[in-house]
């Protein structure tokens, strides 16, 4: 009995001589939610396909539940691929039952589970409707149900949030938590860091086909220098008071004439020390905002602005 649902070691894949994935190793621990993050083209989908044995790696190995991927192992996996669609002429219920039965669920039980999950996803009224009659978001929810209806031990979701509206993204986050609470292992890929930040016990960051980070969310955030945004009237001796805490940079002037500064703290310094120094120096602060780092910042810190360009920045800024 292994502690890991998935173990990959040195996975490498080239297409037409061009490397898509290079020497990627990681483990998805049983019962945890693991985020597989990176911008588009980072090699996430190819890595997941190799992990499941859908395509063969040029080098390296993948082990599902401690063994090479095989039919028995795949039956314990629920996979939602990035490139997804369902039979447009089938009803929502029959699609779910079809995929459940492919995974070995008896027909009657498959229908019962389909009804329960359609209800859970707010699609009870759409059960008998053909997929072509449903909205894109509703069809995507049917695909997600199809991936988990057989109650797999290991759920792999490739970009599950893309195409869903905020309400349904929130619903999907809840479903992912429920899967984990039920003792299942969840691995999902995304280029939107906010979901990973909220959901994951562990994250793997990918860029240009390589793994650039593997650890907890806190460990990733620790890679990011802390920053404080300060505001003070023109003429206040900000530099002399604060330069010892890190790099101070003037970033602009606010409508009331106050100057805005950004202080990037050096290792060991924290916002409390900065605030204390400002009070002791008698600075007339109009603004003091310690900035909470996000995974996006961690990613930028790890691969640079260029490497993080395709990450979904607008959604991050709302976090």
């Amino acid at each position: 009995m292994t502690d890991y649902a998935l173990e990959v070691e040195g996975l490498t894949k080239r297409f037409g001589g061009k490397p898509a994935v290079q020497d990627v190793s990681f483990k998805a621990a049983c019962g945890e939610i693991t985020g597989f993050l990176g911008p588009n083209g980072a090699g996430k989908t190819t890595t997941l396909r190799m992990s499941l044995g859908v395509i063969s790696p040029d080098q390296g190995t993948a082990r599902l539940f401690g063994q090479a991927p095989d039919a028995a192992g795949m039956d314990r996996v629920g996979f939602l691929p990035e490139e997804r669609g369902v039979y447009r002429k089938m009803t929502a219920e029959s699609v779910i039952v079809f995929f459940a039965r492919l995974k070995g669920v008896p027909a009657g039980e498959a229908r019962r589970r389909a009804a329960v999950m359609l209800e859970r996803f707010g699609l009870a009224d759409a059960a008998k409707k053909k997929i072509k009659e449903l909205s894109k978001g509703m069809a995507q929810k049917v695909q997600i149900i199809s991936a988990i209806v057989h109650e797999p031990d290991f759920v792999i979701l490739d970009e599950p949030f893309s195409g869903l509206d905020p309400v349904n993204q929130s619903l999907l986050e809840q479903v992912i938590r429920e899967q984990a609470e039920a003792g299942r292992t969840v691995l999902f890929s995304t280029h939107v860091m906010e979901h990973a930040e909220r959901l994951c016990n562990r994250i793997i960051l990918m860029a240009r086909g390589r793994k650039v980070f593997d650890g907890t969310v806190d460990e990733a955030l620790a890679q990011v220098p802390r920053q404080v945004t300060l505001g003070a009237p023109e003429g206040e001796p900000m530099e002399s008071v604060l330069s010892g805490f890190g790099d101070l940079e003037r970033t602009g002037v606010e409508a009331d004439g106050a100057v805005v500064w950004r202080l990037t703290l050096k290792p060991g310094a924290d916002a409390q020390q900065v605030l204390r120094a400002c009070v002791e120096a008698g600075l007339k602060l109009t603004r003091f905002e310690p900035r909470r780092p996000h995974l996006h910042d961690a990613f930028v810190a790890l691969v640079g602005e260029e490497g993080a360009r395709d990450l979904d920045a607008p959604e991050l800024s709302e976090a």
């Binding site: 037409g16 039919a71 996996v77 996979f79 939602l80 369902v86 079809f98 995929f99 039965r101 492919l102």
Partner: protein
């Protein structure tokens, strides 16, 4: 096995559980009947052709043509009557024909003949009321005056009303030949009337030549009816000594070609089903979801099995209906003509049907897997059409051999074609009734089976690449363009 069964079942139901499937199932016999009836419908709907003859020889040749036309019509009616009453036995046939011949110049004896055979309702079938062509008096004497009647600018009065002239024959004497005929018509493709009139004149000229040489009319008839008696004996190894070749003996050759043609249509249409199904799955991005729940081979075999089930359903229904009709109809017709039972027996030859099943399975697997592989490379049917060209041509060529194989099944070219593995299912099927050497049948079949396995293996490899978008229609085009060089990016 579970995945194969479920995929096959879904594929099967996606066709069979649709109204369109049952409509198309019904459409085939309906269109077959319409197709079979088209020649008769065209002939029946063809208007009577009115023509004129201008005889400038002074030999009353227009009257010769008119008399011959009447005699020809009578002879056609007599032949049809003979065919219709033949099944009622020799005595009835003799009585009916004797009644018909009571009017040696016309159709005066037809009603009595039909009554003898108890077929009074068949008069329209034996002698249609309306003649195909009717001679009328020429409304002019020169080409210039007749032309407006031929183009429809002017019309002539007929029992049907005002009609244009279909044609004019101008017959004149000539220097080096007995007669010259000038044929005028606005319809330059219909040659039947022209040929009939020319044939009548040719016979008349020969009769006149015989008369000039002193032969009596009876002697002339005797000379003109001279013809060898032909007996066709079946000399095949298993045939009885001096056994004459009957329709039942020839039937398997025709049946084999019909079966080969049905195989061709079936293989082509079901392989197309596979292609469109996979293109739909690929374009609809279903294939990867499927690949995450089943293995490549499960999907490939499941799809092939599902669509094979569709064709089996078609064959079972058509075969069932066909057998039922043959048994019921055959039993009814047997009392009419006992030879029909013999003919039906030769049509339902179990060896031929078993061979058809074998060749269908092999052909379907070869072409089905090729079409599946092509489908996996395409997101749209438009993409697929660009790849289908060479395969369609490969499929079309054996059709040409089928047409010639009835007359020339021993031709070296037909024999060679039956060895081309992709054509073997059709061409060898058509050759079977000619008893080709066993080594040829076994050798070509073995080669076909080996090719089938290779095609399946290759198709699976292409399918694997195509389904996950690691190859597409452009890859194939590039491959052919660069002579097999690999994609560089």
């Amino acid at each position: 096995m579970r995945a194969i069964f479920l995929i096959a079942r879904r594929e099967y139901l996606s066709y069979v559980a649709t109204v369109g499937f049952w409509l198309s199932l019904l459409a085939v016999p309906v269109f077959a009947i319409i197709g079979g009836a088209i020649p008769a419908l065209i002939e029946g709907s063809q208007p009577t052709r009115y023509y004129a003859v201008i005889d400038q020889t002074g030999q009353n040749l227009d009257e010769v043509i008119r008399i011959n036309q009447r005699a020809e019509r009578r002879e056609q009616a007599r032949r049809m009557l003979e065919v219709l009453v033949e099944g009622r036995g020799e005595a009835v046939t003799e009585r009916a024909l004797a009644a018909f011949d009571t009017d040696p110049d016309g159709l005066g004896g037809l009603d009595a003949a039909l009554e003898e055979a108890d077929m009074a309702g068949a008069r329209g079938l034996v002698a249609p009321e309306r003649a195909d062509a009717v001679m009328v008096d020429a409304p002019g004497s020169t080409v210039e005056t007749l032309r407006p009647y031929l183009t429809g600018d002017q019309t002539i009065s007929t029992p049907e009303g005002e009609r244009p002239l279909f044609a004019v024959f101008v017959i004149d004497e000539a220097r080096d030949v007995p007669l010259s005929v000038t044929y005028l018509s606005a319809n330059i493709t219909a040659r039947e009337l022209r040929n009939d009139v020319v044939s009548t004149l040719r016979s008349h000229l020969r009769e006149q030549a015989f008369i000039e040489r002193g032969l009596s009319p009876d002697e002339i008839d005797e000379v003109l009816s001279l013809s060898p008696s032909v007996t066709t004996i079946d000399a095949r190894p298993n045939a009885a000594e001096n056994a004459e070749v009957t329709r039942a003996d020839r039937a398997p050759f025709v049946v084999a070609i019909v079966l080969a043609f049905i195989l061709w249509v079936a293989v082509f249409s079901v392989a197309n089903m596979l292609l469109t199904s996979l293109v739909e799955e690929k374009g609809g991005k279903i294939i990867e979801l499927l690949l995450s729940t089943a293995r490549f081979y499960d999907i490939l075999i499941g799809k092939l099995a599902g669509v094979a089930g569709v064709s089996a359903t078609l064959f079972l229904i058509w075969g069932g209906v066909g057998t039922l009709l043959s048994v019921v109809g055959g039993a009814a017709l047997q009392s009419f003509d006992p030879r029909i039972a013999e003919l039906l027996g030769s049509v339902f030859d179990p060896v031929l049907l078993a061979a058809a099943l074998f060749f269908f399975a092999a052909g379907y697997l070869m072409y089905g897997s090729i079409f599946l592989a092509m489908g996996s490379l395409c997101d749209t049917l438009q993409d697929a059409q660009t790849l289908m060209g060479p395969v369609i041509w490969t499929l079309m060529l054996p059709l040409l051999f089928l047409f010639f194989s009835l007359e020339a099944s021993d031709s070296m070219l037909v024999r060679a074609a039956s060895w081309v593995p992709l054509w073997t299912p059709f061409v060898m099927m058509a050759r079977l009734p000619a008893d080709p050497p066993l080594w040829e049948v076994l050798g070509a079949s073995a080669l076909m089976l080996v090719t089938m396995l290779l095609v399946l293996w290759g198709a699976a490899a292409v399918f694997r690449q195509g389904a996950l978008r690691q190859a597409d229609a452009d890859t194939v085009r590039r491959w052919f363009k660069l002579g097999g060089k690999k994609k560089s990016a």
